[in-house]
């Protein structure tokens, strides 16, 4: 094969290999996100296996979710041409998180799955009877980590905030209103 033809052959082989592979964005921690490479036709178990191997724990201890969806994905789900592979995926430990929300001198707690979002916790927290918050004022509130000023984004999963811990403490705060 002439030199130019060899280079062209390599490019074609690389393109063919890339066509057989799929990249899925996967978030496994608050600041841990990457694109994971899978063979076309593989199933989601491959992603869970990779994460489990990295963490040195059993595959059965993890669950995988798609961003914005409540239900856990079946790990047998095959990555086909029509699979929504551009959507962010989240891998969480299956254990529940006890979320404790503090407001003034009171607090309330609840156990939640790790793919619950900050917004879901916030909706629950502002409705806690003991906190005495009028539903009309619900949009004014936000959640922040305990004794930290920075408000948490509504779409963040509590599992990523809690990390390996089983308890997550949050403050219910009035959202910052810029000085007029």
């Amino acid at each position: 094969m002439a030199e130019g033809e060899e280079g062209k052959h390599e490019i074609e082989q690389t393109a063919a290999k890339q066509a057989e592979e799929v990249l899925l964005p996967v978030k496994t921690g608050l600041t841990e996100e990457r694109e994971m490479k899978l063979e076309r036709g593989a199933n989601l178990l491959r992603i869970v296996e990779m994460v489990a191997r990295e963490r040195g724990v059993l595959v059965e201890e993890f669950a995988i979710f798609r961003e914005g969806e409540v239900e856990e994905l079946a790990i047998e789900t095959v990555i086909t041409d029509v699979y929504p592979r551009h959507r962010r995926h989240h891998v969480h430990h299956k254990s529940l998180v006890k979320v404790v929300v503090f407001y003034g001198a009171k607090d309330a707690s609840r156990e939640l799955k790790r793919n619950a979002t900050v917004e879901q916790v916030l909706t629950w927290a502002v409705a806690v009877k003991e906190f005495g918050i009028d539903a009309a004022m619900a949009p004014e509130f936000n959640l922040a980590r305990r004794k930290v000023k920075e408000e948490l984004p509504g779409t963040e999963h509590i599992g990523h905030l809690a990390g390996p811990k089983k308890v997550l403490e949050l403050d219910l705060v009035r959202g910052d209103i810029a000085n007029g």
Binding site: P25, P84, L122, W124, A138, P139, N142, G154, G175, A178
Partner: protein, 159 residues
Amino acid sequence: MIPDPSAARVAADLDESDFVAGVHAGHWRVISFAFPTLDFAVAAGADASGRPIEYGFHADLSNYPGQAPMVRIWDHAKGGPLAPNLRPNGTPRIQRTFQCWTDDTVYRPWDRKTGPHSNNARTFPHLAWWPEHRLSFIFRDIHDILNSNARADRVRAAT
């Protein structure tokens, strides 16, 4: 020609995982990008009949990220700021964010005009603009505020 580092940084931010995740989740979309101008829309829930609502924005990203973005709520059909009576309304935080004021930018401490106004950037350093921030920082802030209105309905439905 030497590529503009600001333009390159904006392009990188539009490809950043948090930003892309928000696009695919339907939280926001880019309408057009021709540096330094970025036109985009942010989802704001649905109206009473279930139709999706979104608001348009127009951003100037000159000298980004060293200089903070300047963002205005925008009527892309008319090519100008959104009329006051069409802006998001609700609790004080929402009204303050989208109020008409001298510079008429989004009134949040990360905005180029709002930051120095009334000491906002100093008072709220965690909401101020820093060059380390990515565009997703301001997109997420706008999305959270726009969607906070729906929280009152969810709370009432849950109680």
